[in-house]
């Protein structure tokens, strides 16, 4: 029941706008704790504005897919590929940053452990999905 409700919510047009607002609130609280209330307020305003924009944006497939209410099996496949591309780009950026750090005489932190986390997560995911069939 909870699973069905959460799936329905993920496919409603409120998913991404509310997620953006939630993320903005998290950044706001973190900034507040860190003593940067102004920067946190700006982040919250930006995330809330992005969420509102997505909520009232047009009915293009890309917008509806990102928002959640236009998702079907084809868009799920698009989402999976886009996530893979984003992950690959992130990995390449981390490798470039790590190599730059090492080449300039630094330790390579925190890029080294971020790359280790990514590598371990990838291997664990491959093993899990192979086991699950």
């Amino acid at each position: 029941m909870i699973r069905i409700c959460s799936r329905q919510f993920a496919r409603s047009k409120w998913f991404l706008p509310l997620f953006s607002l939630f993320l903005g609130l998290v950044v706001f609280v973190a900034s507040w704790i860190g003593g940067h209330l102004g920067a946190g307020a700006v982040s919250l305003a930006l995330m809330a504005a992005f969420g509102l924009l997505i909520l009232v944006a047009g009915r293009s497939e890309t917008i509806r897919g990102l928002r959640g209410d236009g998702r079907d099996e084809r868009f799920a496949q698009i989402d999976l590929r886009a996530t893979a591309v984003a992950g690959l780009v992130l990995m390449l950026a981390l490798i470039a940053a790590w190599l730059t750090q090492i080449a300039t005489g630094h330790t390579g932190r925190p890029y080294d452990w971020l790359l280790a986390v990514a590598g371990i997560a990838y291997i664990a995911a491959v093993a899990f999905f192979r086991w699950r069939g």
Partner: protein
């Protein structure tokens, strides 16, 4: 994958949107299937075949696999 979705749909005077609503997918997904740009999942292929009263083999051409 080559298929007869467009032919079967137009035979029944259905719009892409109507077929999409019946299948629970977007109109763009039906369009992509008809233009051989997207191969549907097995459940969707079976649902399409049942909807048109044909077999999956009749609807989809597996020669290009």
């Amino acid at each position: 994958m080559k298929n007869k979705v467009r032919a079967l749909r137009t035979q029944r005077n259905l719009a892409q949107g109507q077929l999409a609503d019946a299948m629970g997918v977007s109109r763009q997904t039906i369009n992509s299937i008809e233009n051989d740009r997207y191969t549907p999942s097995l459940p969707l292929a079976i649902a399409l075949a049942r909807y048109f009263g044909v077999t999956v083999e009749e609807m989809f051409d597996d020669q290009d696999l």
